[in-house]
Amino acid sequence: MAKFRTAVDTGGTFTDIFVFNEETGQVHIQKVPSTPDNPSRAIENAMETAKVNMSDVNLFSHGTTVGTNALITRDLPPTGMVCSKGFRDVIEIRRSTKQDLWDHYKDVPPPYVQRRHRLEVEERIDYAGKIVAPVNEQEARQVAQTLKKRGMKAIAVCFMNAYMNGINEQRMKEILQEEIPHAYVCTSNELLPEIFEHERFSTCLTNAVLGPVVGEYLDDLTGRLKGMGYKGDVLVLHSGGGVLKAETVAKYASRVASSGIAAGAIAMNQTAQLCGFENAMGLDMGGTSCDVSLTYNGELRMNKEWEVEFGYPIMYPSIEVITIGAGGGSIAWVDQGGSLRNGPQSAQAVPGPACYQKGGEAPTNTDANLVLGRLNTVLLDGRMELNKEASEKAIKKLASRFDMTTIDAAYSILQLANANMCDALRLISVTKGYDPRDFALVAFGGAGPLHAAYVARELEIPKVIVPRYPGVHAAMGCLLVDVRHDLTRTYLVNSNEAKLDDIETVFEELEVEAREMLEKEGVPEENIKLVRNMDLRYIGQWRNLTVDVPKPIETLDHALKIFHTEHERQFSWSNPDQVVEIYGLRITAIGRVPKPAFKKNETTANTQAVAKETRRVYFERAGGFVDTPVYKRTDLPSGTTFTGPAIIEQLDTTTVVPSAVKVTVDEYLNIIMDINA
């Protein structure tokens, strides 16, 4: 009998499993080591360890780093590229910029395909979509044969102005498919009919190199799951915060390249909603880095472009996540100017923080937390022991440079880590016109809850939420998403010349296309939701702003008003008298997947928690080390309230509750900290 929903988030080090029993509402979590040579194996292992019978599972959802890893390690199939005559180097010239503006020795990585495998064909479309030259059939066939002889498994077809007219690309694709029937072929027009050749070509090429990689991986995984008795769909999380069905993923392979990062942000959003917060930011701090994300009015902030490696953008909407080098293992150091710094270098798992005693001697955030008593010397239910003396020794060395005590230095290290995280949160909020005081902060990852209260206090964020399972929070995110496609059409016209009927027609065309995609995936009509977006800008401006518009658009003025208001909100100015340029029309197609209903717990008012022990922990506002109650997370039923200072320990994280901060455990067992209490 089918009763489980499972989500698996495969990371570089661990594969996290989140199993939800639909009948009992119980949750089971599992962490197993990843198996990078064949990630499917870890999933198989995990399911066995978790004792989940796959025939009892009715939904399997998956976040994966297979795509990202293939790009970073360049472990890619033989891939060719066919370009318009004169333009095979667009992908290498890029926009010509470097990431580091001053370091002439820091290079942009080379394109995913070498120049020798980028071939050209005579053809040309102009800016208006008119065929200047049709595909030279003879040359095209020659190119196809050459690529066949060279054993290419994937081919990207990238022609100039194909965003206006894909006919030449399509013809080239047909010829390639005739000559090399088993190759994976994609064209820039079918993937992304958007202006700007490098960005479109880059998306198409990334898709081509990942097509076979992701396709083969999912075939393997689907086969294994089937073999274990699973009969449902395999859903794969993509960067846009939705899932695709495994059979669709191969066509849009580049969409899943940042699958894993999106999961954390989605889980953050869901947890915030569950706790009743429409606006929230996510602080996902692990061992080496910290990811921050933002949701506003219940919608995650999106980016229109992102990249795995600098210079090669993937132009699909993606959840905006800012990653900084601030993790438990981030190293504190003194630079040549005598300034105390924290990160971005990390001690990683090996040699690790000084307290691991695996050869690391540099002081890290973990060491500072240990010295201040915030971390226990015994972690993971006794499976790991930390050496406090080693931490003290490492920090003392640093402290001597500043005439500080070891304790002051440890505290300073944490203040810097917190300040760096605040900067990242500021970038995603204040810079974009959001006031942190209107937000809640969701803290997760192994180290997030250690720092969250301080970060929130600094930014005047009133509430901090620590979800029940911070260590596998991202995996839970995989379980909570809908099928999502993003369709786009470049549509350039000025607002004073625009015809509403025509805009409606294009939107309707996109909607038909979107509906077909979802129907093909078996999404029933009642679960389909289509959202309209317009990309707009003041005429003469270079960046556009994407705004939601209703269906139908009643008047153009109404749509424009939405734009003026959003421009005012983000940039503190707008100009309703100026002509607006319509730049693109977009449809977000959502196929709702039924979500698990998490079990609500009975709440007894004013439940008193019992501390398992008392420890000396440093709190600045309490005047230094004070006797601090240490609670076990599992001993905190819903309804529990108490006031800091306190420490809350659980298998996968430690939560620090500073002095005067009030803790409430809600009916879903989330910890809510009231910072201003």
Binding site: D89, I93, L101, D103, R115, R116, L427, G540
Partner: protein, 652 residues
């Protein structure tokens, strides 16, 4: 170990230092999202936070190199002009290159930040506007001898007074520019960005208190100065010289225009002296003092990439530039093309000097920044409007100590300056791009070759009253190699190449009429090579040949590597090791003699078809007028003199 003196605790200092950086980056983000000039959009802009004296506390992390070292001069120009007459709510506009700007297109907006009635800081943004008036679209008039025809000179001018927008003044300024509405948009975008900076600075003051923030601002500069000086102190003392050249002074007999940089390291300071540089010349490639200062600082910064940029960095340098020279042109000498002229050369000379001080960060000469402009009336069906096709290219950087130079990368002038997509250009202008590709054999050969340059061409579609102008250089002063490496290729534009009326227009020209059907093509050079090309690993040459970065022919001539093509389609090539050994011995035996051969004899061989243009340059060091193929004797003498020092001296 460095002694740390500070009134602030290390955490407060580090937090405020990062907050200042965050603040200027927020200003930049605002500009990027709301600007109207595509030049700004492609990242030709910068933002800064300055202290009450105008000294920079922090500059944007992604700012363009060319503005470095000029922003504090801008703030000081405003302070000097208005003195006590600066009030809360005032905003100033400025673009005067003679007292703290770069060129007219770089328009700066400065906002004094007040706290309880007194100035506590200045926030400042600088953006390259697409047009600031003058005789030609885009305001790049190569023929200008003085600034009056170049564009509007905006001396320090109040544009908001105590919070009131002075629309009359703003309109008077932009009425002299093409695309007045867009210019007001840029003005607005930049002014709002300075507002963002103000908001964030005042937030810090409220939170940490004025005194703390002000001391952090001061200590940020001291901190940078301290790091810079400690790095310099680690180097040996001494004095070294470098020279680079502008192609010519158009009105004068042919000869390269020398720009000389003498560098002295003494203790923890660096002294730059540009004495011996040529007098100012009769075209707009000159530079005024601020831009020269910027070139020196930016060139040096490439060797200290991790040091943050603020006034503290400049304090470690002492700079002397001769009066009335090409590197210190007085008012009203034209300087708009400084970016392609003096700036590139000073920067290249500085990079050369430091390459010899820090060989592990060495780099050969890079391609020259270039701007091609075509402007007129768009007569495509459905269009009846003024258009401006304003294009710049990526090119090759110089070879490096242990690796090749970067292919097709933004000019050293500004590594964040992105090129424009051809699809965007084709939509906006009646110009169809025919190719945009890496150019074979454009890289200067070396043990580590230069990066490859790019070739871009196009066809003019329906238009009228249209003209083409080109702001470039290095058609003669070709990007040179270092430590035995060879030069790359000359820059310069061909009109209607291969047609009956083909014409070589060179690397600087303006106002050349174009009409429907005309074609044009020009390369950006590759970078100069580093080290002896005969010492290059033969497999690397082979890989370059397979990827068509280098031709089979030049593999043999430049590198002495003989490659047999077995099956081009299947990429089967092989190095003929015996023939290679012989070829390398042959080159080794003759190359010094070739380099000193009579230029006229070289020309005879060229005309007889025995050698080609690249042989003329790389083998013989001869510079010609590339249209007539006449030898330029004085230019050749100067070029060879430089090659003897930079290249021949390193050959065994």
């Amino acid at each position: 170990m460095t002694q740390i003196e500070s009134k602030l605790d290390p955490v407060t200092f580090e937090v405020l230092k990062n907050a200042f950086g965050n603040l200027v980056d927020q200003m930049s983000e605002q500009i990027l999202r709301t600007c109207y000039s595509f030049v700004i959009y492609c990242r030709d802009f910068s933002s800064a936070l300055c202290d009450v004296n105008g000294d920079t506390i922090m500059q944007g992390s992604q700012d363009i190199a060319v503005h470095v070292g000029t922003l504090h001069l801008t703030a000081k120009a405003i302070i000097d002009t208005f003195k006590d007459d600066i009030h809360e709510g005032d905003v100033f506009i400025f673009n005067d290159p003679y007292v703290g700007g770069t060129h007219f297109c770089d328009v700066r907006i400065v906002r004094p930040v007040f706290w309880k009635g007194e100035i506590v800081a200045f926030t400042l943004t600088n953006g390259h506007w697409a047009d600031v008036g003058g005789t030609v679209p885009g305001s790049f008039d190569i023929s200008a001898k003085d600034h009056f025809g170049e564009g509007l000179r905006i001396t320090p001018t109040r544009i908001w007074s105590k919070g009131r927008y002075l629309g009359d003044v703003a309109n008077c300024l932009v009425a002299n520019m093409r695309g007045a509405e867009d210019r007001l948009g840029d003005l607005r975008a930049q002014a709002e960005a300075t507002m963002v900076g103000q908001r964030e600075f005042l937030r810090l003051v409220e939170k940490y208190g004025k005194d703390t923030v002000m001391s952090a601002a001061r200590e940020c500069q001291d901190y940078v100065e301290r790091i810079t000086r400690s790095r310099i102190a680690e180097l040996d003392d001494g004095t070294w010289n470098a020279v680079d050249f502008i192609d010519q002074d158009p009105g004068q007999p042919e000869s390269l225009i020398p720009i000389r940089v003498k560098m002295t390291i003494k203790g923890d300071k660096v002294f730059y002296d540009l004495e011996g540089s040529h007098g100012y010349i009769g075209c707009f490639l000159n530079s005024a003092y601020p831009a020269t200062l910027s070139a020196l600082v930016a060139g040096t910064k490439a060797f200290f990439p991790d040091i943050p940029l603020n006034a503290g960095f400049f304090k470690a340098f002492d700079i002397k530039v001769p009066e009335n020279s090409v590197v210190n042109a007085p008012w009203p000498v034209a300087v708009t093309g400084f970016c392609s002229g003096v700036y590139e050369k000073v920067q290249a000379a500085v990079i050369d000097l430091w390459s010899n001080r820090m060989p592990e960060r060495a780099m050969g000469c890079a391609f020259n920044l270039e701007y091609l402009l075509i402007g007129g009336w768009d007569r495509r069906p459905g269009f009846d409007s003024f258009f401006m096709w304003y294009d710049w290219m990526a090119g090759g950087h110089g070879g490096r100590a242990h690796k090749d130079g970067c292919n097709a990368t933004a000019a050293v002038f500004g590594l964040g300056l992105s090129i424009q997509p051809c699809e965007g250009q084709e939509r906006l202008s009646p110009v169809l791009t025919s190719e945009h590709a890496i150019m074979i054999d454009s890289a200067g050969p070396g043990k580590h070759r230069g990066g490859c340059g790019v070739v871009k061409g196009g066809t003019v579609l329906a238009c009228d009253q249209s003209v083409m102008s080109y702001c470039c250089d290095r058609a003669r002063s070709i990007p040179s190699g270092i430590w035995g490496g060879l030069p790359s290729i000359p820059q310069g534009l061909w009109k209607n190449k291969g047609k009956e009326d083909e014409a070589y227009l060179g690397a600087i020209f303006s106002g050349v009429p174009v009409q429907q059907g005309d074609t044009f093509i020009r390369p950006s050079a590759g970078g100069g090579g580093l080290g002896d090309p005969l010492a290059r690993n033969t497999n690397k040459v082979l890989e370059d040949v397979i990827d068509e970065y280098v031709s089979v022919k030049r593999a043999k001539k430049d590198y002495g590597v003989v490659i047999n093509v077995i099956d081009q389609e299947m990429l089967v090539y092989e190095v003929d090791l015996a023939a290679t050994e012989k070829q390398r011995a042959h080159i080794r035996e003759n190359r010094i003699r070739w380099m000193r051969e009579d230029p006229e004899q070289v020309r005879d061989k060229l005309l007889a078809g025995e050698i080609d243009d690249l042989d003329v340059i790389r083998r013989h060091g001869v510079i010609m007028d590339w249209s007539t193929r006449e030898v330029l004797p004085e230019t050749t003498r100067q070029f060879r003199e430089m090659m003897e020092k930079r290249t021949v001296a390193f050959w065994d």
